[in-house]
Symmetry: D2
Subunit: 388 residues, 4 copies
């Protein structure tokens, strides 16, 4: 009998992780962006690659778009393209960090004309959402300053509220705005939405359709991220995750690659707080495959999330609760770590096969010849990257 009980499998079967279209394009650091064979040249090719991840894992049924990187003349057509490949279009991500106008801010800018431009961009994103059928508008702002005195940080906060209000007002009944926070980068002194507290205060001031997005790489060193997960779930404001991992700053490494135990603890609090397979809480990846292959990088990522979810679902809650109540620190920790240390991979492989999926999705993808084909076919054109 499998170590994965039926109720665990039911949860795993329902699990869905959204992929970011931009993870299939090239990315890098300020020092260098390395190109790779087979990199998509347009949103259609990105979605085709994303569909490969879902094909072998059944974990990634939706793809997030980034505007303007993923602008197309006909979103209905893009939607049909996606659906023909077995995936749907998901969250729309706005971008107010690559126009020259935004050098000193976007929704927070001193100049009402720049704020207008930034707000209009978001309204356009909502228009696109209407066409793509997307529920969520994700806003991550690069707004901030590099030197003390450069900016009036209080005034910027007030303008942020006003700008968000206008965007919020445009949302449809079934649409949401999720506001992401980030500790630093690209701004190096102050960032206008630097922490969960700010994102919470700003979204609480907007209303129920505004939620917080937690990117696991966007915190100060040492931050207990699972505590924030717990708190936002408790406050009813955890709208979505951007999963990735880090050793230093916003390294955007594969989720679970830097500290697998942290991922386990995060998923445990998601489950504890009722956030697993809760439609209010979206699971997304936001990673950069700077040196590793992109499609396999995404496959590894969704499998990492699935494996840690399986482990977290194995925690013996009764035993844990008993140990907590008797303040048996070592026993509580043992019960907790026992689940983490259990190797769920054989049971997951077996379960995958029972569902008609490959036992080893990575192997299946690598053996499929897909990469060789796109490397051959995608010659010429401009490889997608953050610049385009």
């Amino acid at each position: 009998m499998s170590i994965l009980r039926d109720d665990v499998l039911a949860e795993l079967e329902a699990q869905a992780i959204e992929l970011p279209s931009w993870a299939f394009g090239n990315s890098g650091t300020r020092f260098k962006v390395f190109g790779t064979a087979g990199t998509p040249r347009d949103p259609y090719e990105k979605i085709a690659d994303a569909a490969q991840v879902n094909r072998y894992t059944a974990l990634a049924p939706t793809v997030a778009l980034h505007i303007p990187w993923d602008k197309v003349p006909d979103y209905a057509d893009l939607r049909r393209h996606a659906e023909s490949l077995g995936v749907k279009l998901g969250t729309i991500n706005s971008n107010t960090f690559q126009e020259d106008a935004y050098k000193f801010g976007s929704l927070t800018h001193e100049d009402p004309k720049v704020r207008r431009q930034a707000i209009d961009h978001h309204l356009e994103c909502i228009d696109i959402m209407d066409e793509t059928g997307s529920r969520d508008l994700k806003i991550w702002l690069a707004d901030g300053s590099n030197y003390p005195g450069q900016a009036d940080i209080r005034g910027r906060q007030d303008r942020l509220h006003e700008s968000l209000q206008e965007i919020y007002a445009r949302l449809g009944d079934e649409q949401r705005l999720v506001l992401e926070y980030k500790f630093f980068e690209p701004a190096f002194y102050h960032t206008d939405v630097p922490d969960w507290g700010t994102s919470y205060a700003q979204t609480a001031a907007l209303g129920e359709k505004a939620m917080v997005c937690l990117d696991t790489g966007h915190h100060a060193p040492g931050t207990n991220i699972e505590f924030i997960v717990m708190q936002l779930l408790r406050l009813g404001k955890l709208g979505s995750f951007d999963f990735n991992s880090r050793f230093y700053a916003d390294d955007d490494l594969i989720v679970g690659a830097a500290d697998p135990y942290q991922l386990f603890r995060i998923v445990f609090e998601v489950i504890r707080g009722g956030g697993l397979n809760n439609p209010d809480v979206a699971f997304m990846l936001d990673q950069c495959h700077n040196v590793e292959d992109k499609i396999p990088g995404q496959i590894r990522s969704v499998l990492n999330v699935q494996e840690m979810t399986a482990r977290a679902l194995l925690v013996d809650h009764e035993a844990l609760r008993a140990a907590q109540l008797s303040h048996d620190v070592l026993e509580a920790n043992r019960v907790f770590m026992d689940a983490f240390q259990t190797d769920v991979r054989p049971a997951l492989a077996e379960w995958r096969e029972s569902r008609g999926l490959p036992a080893d999705p990575m192997r299946a993808y690598l053996d499929s010849g897909y990469f060789e084909r796109i490397a051959d076919e995608r010659v010429g054109g401009v490889q997608a990257s953050w610049g385009a």
Copy 2:
């Protein structure tokens, strides 16, 4: 003519910084607490020492008490003692970290009996406030856990809310509760009030008489503290400061000693947000003089705050605003740093003398013979420290 304009001097004259009684007792690290000659043996002697700081600086008219460290049979008598020395009794600090019962929490504890004990302690603190005429009850909680799994962090958050509600209900009309947050220590995995967001969410759920206390040493590495100051002022929830400074963790060094420019930026945002000499925002010290003399350590601290306030008041707001609006980053930074780099010490010395105070309060204290006297007199008894 002084570089300090009359409006600046008016602000400086109104400035008041509360001293912590415990700063006059011995403190140290887990490795060693060094004793020193002249250390107070009881609250009366602590207040006498605190009064010395005010005598030479006119900056420290109130003294915060810590219960049970500063328990006395007759608070009216202690109050008269303080007033006879020219100071008043200030904030009451509760302590739920030194009883054996609190090993696994206090207001958040699983066991209702322990929560009862911790709540009752706070109710007793409010009784004391009634006698001392104190406005603020400051709550810093050591509650947390050391190992993942040890505690149900979500349940603890809910119990924290319930416990605080009962304490809050007991407050008089003119009394407040200020809830301090701390990144870590003494708990090493999770802390129940680890960040401003949690303190904000918890106090917002209580009501208007509950505010946040910001200790400048209680943040993750790299945190932009002045941003939090701005945000809490904007949200109307900045109740008080615990000033100190740090290079690494909660080092509790003299305020302004580790990064004077950071202190300048913090005070600048206080002014920008209307928090200077605003009765809603209390300035307090919370420091440990582990290796330096205690009374002079406190004198240096209040002078550091005064000097940085003077510098921050010198910022040319018109020039700064003009540079900000034209996005002249370097000019804005120059205007900002110009105030920071201005040596206000001679003008402050002159101004002190004009008010009948010593030009050099530190020198005046050192020359007064007070230390030699207490070192002689305070023989026998048990020197005050965190343990008593």
Copy 3:
């Protein structure tokens, strides 16, 4: 057939982890040290407790002593006591942080009289080593300063060298000096041996019998510790480990409790660099069981090291090397993590039984009644702690 090959088992059989006598006494933070039933009152009782750990795990054949905490009139007698319980006396740890004389330094102090006292203490420690048969003198210095300007940090470095030279000269042919570094605490501005570079430069200047001690909790946030392990092994200067774990500062939690994957990576580099079961590289614990039971805390610790060693020994080096050489980042990471994710616990349990040890050492200890006995017997006297 076991997943643990014979060569792996041979390594595991040879593994030995030294226990710190002080882990069996009480410890805590500057806020509170909680006492616990059954805590040893003297070195004899500490060694008896340590022997329990070895009895159930066969992993901890030696016990490190701390002088003066473990001073006894007759070390030969203490040695016989230990040996009668199946363990030996190990490393001697000096202590120059709890005498009043050391408030401003010990081996680095400005005053030659204080340096004399500190050097003499180390010479006495070597005398004790001669009696206990210990090989290593471990030096961790609390020396440092709290405020810029307080100390002449260059002069202190030179004096450190001179003091160490005199101690080094006294070592017997088979004895060694290991110099531990620490990022901060109890000093909060500068520490005289803050990083591996300093410890390396100082020990290299002494000679071949001086080595570096790496405490896994003594680094800045984000430091890649396994890199330092690699480098010190490469330079032939890794003398010993002090194992523990941390989320924030020097939290001294159970090794492997905070980031098990980091422990895996460290052990992997130990193996890679020839440091496993190499007599030049001592494995020691240095932890504080502030809230958990002490003997089980040590049992958990040595089991954690054993389990991670087993996992690290499972890495398929051929496959890893092939992936590295072909720059297949994901495959290399997969091979590496595959070993980490393998659950070695059942195989270890079986192997233990085959050697006449309990399959579950923790369970066996808990069922033995030892704790209940010492809790009954050890009444009266002063419980051991850092103070005594």
Copy 4:
């Protein structure tokens, strides 16, 4: 009489800070590089801009080049160009991070062909040094890995040594190699030269002409940089500084902008250790003016270093030493901070005028019309940036 004594002025007059040619080109983050009017298109224009900094400050007589960014057909011609503008060519910086070949390392690469390419690049740099008359070859390596297991970090260290040996062997008698270390970025798991200890060990293994380069932005959070300055000076291995400042990671902000007191402490230790105006210790800037104007950014930078040097030279060493010897912590800190808090700007302005320089170099530059001229003239072509 000036507060700046003659001996102080003599030191200040001798001070020279090397400018990086690349600071005059565009730079940014992975999110966006903003272009600016007047940006140089080639090395000749960069040097012309650098010469402006020296013209108004007399502080920046040399310009460092970056190869291949600053490759020209005729270095003798570039040298004459520089000298005609009153500056000299300085340090040559190699670049092994922008060729596709270096994706997985350069001097440390597994493939001997890639190592050959990287070594040859450095040999070419030394050829250029022969032509430009440069003394120093500065090596900063991006080499590292992003995922545990990806690389054999021990083997890389050995190959690094071998590669450096070959480069070292090619140095002329008056030439040096300075090896820079960096905590992280662009590699996000391990970096091959991550700390001063590694750079020290590697350069010590090469010989006397190999030194360490300390970039003030390349350390873990909380690192006491002045301690490293002290240690490297003591070990005779501090070859050069790359000055800049940071709040978070390698932010590359203007030196002295983030923490002026830290800059003061660093310069104080430079003076204490005999490193000021010592030809063995080169002062260089390495900054990115992402949002501020570039030439004024460099002017501000050299002035910040000059001002902090002046302040550090004002420390009353006798009083400081007396306070240190008597362990008067507060007095020692007061003497130290007294120098830091002294406003040297008026005295420096006066002194500049006495030397025929503008009292306010920034104002003089801004009023000169230079920027308007280059903004007009430099139309067309490709603006210099890290890419070219």
